[in-house]
Symmetry: C2
Subunit: 736 residues, 2 copies
């Protein structure tokens, strides 16, 4: 009962700040803490402090009064309007503005978070967790809304499809960035229904490497990618965030080379020369090559060993030894990836981007390259190296005999048969099935288990660290000191359950939406690049993704701290990866269809009969067909209307109307042209005549003085028209 | 002297309307004329009428008073602002607005033209020349500024390069649309300096079909295309027209299928279903195929005859007969092109576009397809059909023997040698030289002479028509009637010279800037597609274009009526053609370099040794290298700053600053957060305590009630930090 009560209320807390001082000198820790509380108070946040356990304290904050919050909200909305995110300026009376457009939870939390973290110069408290002055601030997090979370997971786990309203709710609670991830995955899931159904029938009816399946799959990938772009715009408008990615947030770690005074704005601007950045960016080329070489070598080695053992070696323990390369890959790959990832981050840091967005794009590109190699290279090797060149390569795999030498009875077992070696056409399919089924399931499991294990480990480590600190401080020699009493002993009974819960949430990990997005994009890659090998790919994915969507919801609710509700109007640089994979899919699919026609044995019944020019012509044709198709799909989709676009048009129309009314009403004092025309003809006639006789008239005045008013023009014109026929008549009459 | 005076003044005339009534009943003509003058007067235009000769009258108009013009200008500027063309709303006082930003001539003329031609509902007079009710209105044109024209041509013909100021002047006089043409041609001309110089040295040092020249040329084309896109933006900002292409002007000829009430704006909207338009657009495919077949057949036939005569036939008159196909092409091609062009226009009309822009894009695409075939197909045939398959095809050219049979002495002269036929490697180069030198010169000449001849012909026709009308009316039987007296006899001596000049200008043609643009884009195509055949191409073009730029200026000044100064912010759909040609160039150049390596004789010394896979691999590689290059160039160019972009930033900054000041000053009444934080800590302490004792306090109230103000939070925090180390100490001390 106590626990459920603790879950029911968040005590009006907006953010909890976890402050750890295990490594800091006591006096410094106290001074820093005072500074922290003072900074928070200075931006109008009320504070409460409680014991956090393991040398940490929990600082609870909430906004002191609604009036102040409204001021911040209004400022934020005006900024949005000026950046073009909102069509109209917010109404000037603050309370009125908020009544017309009430604050949603994510907006409130975002604004308060920005109030805490924005630099002092921009009106924030300037608190940056784990950095510089604030390195004791371990984390800033909002509390989960457990009642909502329970209901959320319950609802989702009992429905097949998510509705837009479900996404709206995520947006209201967790912000647009996370909502965009769920919207993307949901869109993708819905779209998967078609290739899953078609793939199933293709599997029954068309067999593997069917050109029909290849074409349908390529069309589907293109339609999905282009439709998602359209959908993004629509959702952006629906959630009122279209254009937020253009609001550039400066990176704190940006190091300027020089400061100049902007000739335009008169402000001091920090500059880092673009040429110098380009020089640094050029390191990306050796990095990519190095990463490709290292990862490629590892993958190729494992691949070679596997081929050797399964197809050359025929000594004892073959069935066990065949898992040796998988073992090597499983152990070495994460380590190597980790090192390269670390390197990529440091390189991106070194490239010294000015804005968060540029940094994120640059990092995502590198991450994509790394993931591309680890995810797809094994299949590429099988399809485009092993199959066409297998007969040439396999006899040279003797070099891997070392790995199994200890197990072999004699050298014969390590020698490839001199002749008659045939490639194993099933290998490719097995590999695709491994990556699209087994690896996906493993991945899903890991995603739920790893954070749990990590959290347990971290908690234990923190406790150890804290214990050691306590021992060292009191008596470095003490060996059998009792553990410190748990912080809950100091809690007041009324708060105890609540505080216990907050302590737990403080220990949770931080949710990273981009890693989930990456997973989806890489999954899409298998579909676009290789699904022609095994048409059931989409069936596996649709099952996986139904669970994935729910598992991610559970992960956010249970395994992670409540995420900071950032805004976004796109899935960002991953969109480019999606387009890239779709394009590459047109190449691989056509190449695979050609190479493995005749049921996986190459066009002439044997891989050696693959013709270079035919392969190239197929690929070239497929690629250009893809370009034309993409163009067509883009044009067709751009014609689609959508609720979001309608809303945008309505807003723009209303703004336009108001402006027109405001501005053009001023023009009423000027006589309208229509009336003026008449005026001139009547009144100014004599006036003009008098004036022209008074002053020395110019040629122009005399030219325009012939006909006064339009009636005279008409009269003269009439006579001219009549004369045109009469002119000749009198003379002619004379002649006759 | 009289003549020079006539050229000196335009009599303050804004527009001249030429009204012809040769085919109209006299009474109707008079009624219509009255209607016309009344319509003009109703929008505040002053009118004067004079005799025009050949059954026409000239109606001179000028704006009645500055005040009215200012009103129109202000309305136009407000509309621009609302469409996002101007960053800031124009100042509200009209005169003030005009003093801050004076009206330039083209703007004045455009606004008056719109006043005359816009529909009555939109505040114009609704006069549409040659259409419906206004079919007697032959043309509406402004008068040339001869003093400026003379100076313009003089200045241009004595300078090598045009400066941005020269383009500014064109923009001020003739409007942005024409200025964009000149800016494009000038940019192109400047860029040509490099390939001309490089081509010259390549011609000396590298020979034909040099891969180095091919790469340099492809890079240059890409840089130019991308740079022009950047330049367009810059000029658009400089001339304050960025975004005008988004202001959609409705087409008068648009026929709606149904009218619905827009759910958003409540206005009645005319709708033509997109699906139906798509169905109509599908006719483009048979049209393109048909045009390609017809033109292709003509070109292929001429080509075949030419090859036959020059390489198979060896009878008499060979040197004369070889020009036979050129003769056929010269006569039949313009007729066929004209028919197809007519068809294209009608098809575009049938597609029933809603806006001028959509119509223009659709028409330009068709025009481009037609021109692409007529301009480049002959060279494509030589390079990709004649050379690789020549030995196969030439023996079958006997079918063309019919054309020269009458001249042949015996059948032997018409038979191809059975063996030993070798293709003529020089043919391709000769053809490229023909298209890039001879055809360009001919074209330039035609451009200046044809309008003159056309005008002469038209004048004679009108006179004939007018004479006949006069004769018919007075006495149909009369055969030897004197010609009617020239209209100048009715002129007052003072105006006579001026009116004579206006009559001449009324007979001039209407300048069409898109045909000049098309010419430039097609010229660029030769450079990007085939210049690797003959590296001197750019040298020829640079000479041609220097003259072209001046010739166009002369054409506008002398041969054409003063053009209506339309606005534009781009060269429009031709930009896509440019990108397309650049891309296609990467394919053709690489293919040509491979096929004609070894000095025009194919890779192995003979065309038959061309390998399909090698050719395809070359093309595939070149195309993807081009994609990467284009991406790189785009990124690099997007980093460039320019005066235009700076201006735009400055304007946006100023607007933003003003808005911020206007809106946020309102927020001052709300206490800033920083102060509020302090307030709470001091004053509300007792108040809160009393309140919490009065009412039944909630869990939340009690939670937040523990620490009043940030100082207390600091104090409690301090004690917690200190306790964290002390807690364990007493117990441990006991243990020791």
């Amino acid at each position: 009962m106590v626990k459920s009560q603790a879950l029911q209320t968040n005590m009006d807390v907006d953010y909890v700040i976890s402050y750890r001082f295990v490594k800091t000198d006591k006096a410094v820790a106290i001074a820093k803490f005072e500074q922290l509380v003072q900074a928070l108070a200075s931006v109008g946040l009320q504070t409460e402090v409680r014991n956090g356990g393991n040398h940490s304290i929990l600082l609870f904050t909430k906004v002191a009064s609604d009036e102040h919050l409204f001021g911040e909200v209004y400022r934020s909305r005006v900024r949005d309007w000026i950046h073009g995110v909102r069509a109209a300026a917010p109404p000037k009376e603050t309370r009125e503005a908020l009544e017309a457009e009430p604050l949603y939870e994510a907006e409130r939390l975002r604004i308060i978070y920005q109030l805490i973290t924005h630099p002092v110069a921009e009106g924030g408290a300037g608190i940056t967790p784990n950095e510089g002055e604030w390195e004791n601030v371990e984390s800033i997090f909002a509390l989960h809304d457990h009642a909502y979370n329970t209901e959320w997971i319950k609802r989702w786990s009992t429905s097949y499809f998510l509705k837009t309203e479900d996404l709206d709710e995520i947006r209201n609670r967790l912000g647009e960035k996370i909502a965009f991830y769920f919207a993307f995955t949901q869109s993708y899931f819905t779209f998967l229904v078609f290739p899953a159904a078609f793939g199933l029938s293709a599997w029954f009816l068309l067999g593997h490497f069917s050109p029909i399946y290849g074409i349908v799959s390529a069309v589907w990938c293109t339609v999905f990618t282009e439709y998602w772009k359209h959908q993004e715009v629509d959702l952006g408008v629906r959630w009122g965030v279209r254009g937020v990615s253009k609001i550039e947030a400066k990176r704190k770690n940006f190091k300027h080379e020089k400061q100049i005074t902007d000739p335009i704005t008169g402000e001091t601007v920090s500059i880092f020369p673009a040429v110098k950045r380009l020089q640094r960016q050029l390191w990306q080329i050796p990095f990519a090559l190095g990463a490709a070489t290292l990862l490629g070598a590892l993958i190729a080695t494992c691949f070679g060993i596997e081929v050797f053992i399964s197809e050359v070696y025929n000594g004892p323990f073959k069935s066990v030894l065949v898992f040796l390369p998988t073992g090597i890959a499983t152990i070495v790959m994460p380590i190597l990836s980790g090192i390269l990832m670390n390197f990529a981050t440091r390189l991106t840091e070194y490239e010294n981007y000015e804005t968060h967005r540029a940094y994120e794009i640059a990092l995502t590109q590198k991450v994509f390259v790394l993931n591309f190699i680890t995810s797809y290279l094994p299949i590429f090797l099988t399809a485009f190296v092993y199959v066409p060149f297998g007969t040439l390569i396999v006899p040279h795999l003797d070099i891997f005999s070392l790995t199994v030498k200890p197990f072999a009875d004699d050298d014969k077992q390590l020698k490839a048969p001199k002749a008659g070696f045939a490639i194993n056409p099933d290998r490719l399919r097995k590999q695709v099935i491994y990556f699209t089924v087994t690896a996906q399931i493993v991945n899903l499991g890991m995603e739920l288990i790893v954070p749990y294990l990590k959290r347990r480990g971290l908690l234990r480590y923190k406790k150890m660290q804290s214990d050691r600190a306590a021992k060292m401080q009191s008596n470095p020699a003490a060996k059998n000191g009792n553990p410190p009493p748990s912080p809950s002993e100091t809690d007041s009974p009324e708060d105890a359950a609540f505080l216990e819960r907050v302590r737990q949430e403080a220990e949770l990990g931080v949710y990273d939406v981009t890693s989930d997005l990456r997973e989806m994009v890489l999954q899409f890659g298998y579909l676009s690049l290789f699904s022609v090998v095994w048409p059931l790919t989409a069936v596996s994915f649709i099952i996986n993704d139904w669970i994935e969507l729910r598992a991610d919801a559970v992960k956010i609710c249970v395994e992670m701290q409540r995420p900071i509700p950032w805004r976004a109007d796109t899935i960002g640089p991953w969109l480019d990866s999606l387009s890239f994979l779709t394009w590459l899919g047109s190449l691989t699919t056509s190449a695979l269809v050609y190479m493995f026609s005749n049921d996986g044995l190459g066009p002439g019944g044997h891989p050696s009969s693959i013709r270079g020019w035919a392969l190239l012509l197929t690929v070239l044709f497929a690629e250009h067909a893809f370009f034309v198709l993409r163009w067509g799909v883009r044009v067709a989709i751009s014609k689609l209307d959508s609720p979001g676009l309608q809303k945008e048009r309505r807003e723009r129309f209303l703004v336009r109307k108001r402006y027109f009314e405001e501005n053009l009403s001023q023009l009423d004092q000027i006589p309208k042209m229509a009336e003026a025309g008449e005026d001139i003809t009547r009144k100014t006639l004599e006036e003009d005549a008098r004036r022209s006789s008074l002053k020395a008239s110019t040629v122009e005045d005399r030219f325009w003085g012939r006909q006064k008013g339009w009636r005279e023009t008409v009269a003269i014109g009439k006579s001219l028209i009549e004369k045109a026929n009469i002119e000749t008549s009198p003379e002619r009459k004379k002649d006759l």
